[in-house]
């Protein structure tokens, strides 16, 4: 994904195993923080 591109509506998993789409998080701006490993 490059600057200016529309990001696909990725599907993620919640901690309970259910699915959630990126589009479910609607806001004027979304800060997405991709973590390294949790440990």
């Amino acid at each position: 994904v490059n600057l200016g591109d529309t990001v696909s509506d990725f599907t993620f998993l919640r901690s309970d195993g259910s699915s959630v789409a990126l589009s479910a998080f609607s806001a004027k701006a979304i800060v997405m923080i991709f973590l390294r490993h949790l440990g």
Binding site: N2, L3, V7, F12, S15, K28, M32, F34, R36, L38
Partner: protein, 136 residues
């Protein structure tokens, strides 16, 4: 970001944390960290790859500059932890900002494990008028 979460919310923004951990591990992390914002899992790394997030090499991690940054973090109270079984310790992260139309307006792909963007850059991407008013 946690310290600036309220400011981000006031600007109409939201924070979404993405991890490549399995959901079960995510549940433990969520409970321990008591994060104020949502956290989701991308165990297939589909989004990580789409956003261009790569794996570091061991050589990169063991570079003196990176070790020095880790040392500084430890002096500030951060304690290194063993990785959870099965987690890829070489996978790098990144910080991105999408606008309301899901367009990518800011990207910072970590070049090495301790490489994070200044919070001011993220806030500026969330609220461009903030930067304009600061310049005026």
């Amino acid at each position: 970001v946690r310290d600036h979460y309220e400011e981000i919310r006031r600007q109409g923004g939201e924070v979404l944390v993405v991890s490549f951990a399995q959901p079960a591990l995510l549940a433990l992390y969520e409970r321990d960290q008591a994060l104020p914002f949502p956290i989701v899992a991308d165990p297939s790394l589909a989004a990580y790859h789409a956003f261009g997030l790569e794996r570091a090499s061991w050589r990169e991690i063991l570079r003196s500059r990176v070790l020095w940054r880790y040392l500084r973090l430890m002096l500030r109270g951060w304690a290194p932890q063993r990785s959870n079984k099965g987690e890829d310790v070489l996978q790098l992260g990144g910080d991105f900002v999408l606008d309301e139309y899901r367009r990518l307006v800011y990207a910072h792909r970590s070049a090495e494990p301790t490489d994070r963007p200044p919070i001011a850059e993220l806030l500026q991407a969330v609220c461009p008028s903030r930067a304009r008013s600061a310049a005026e």
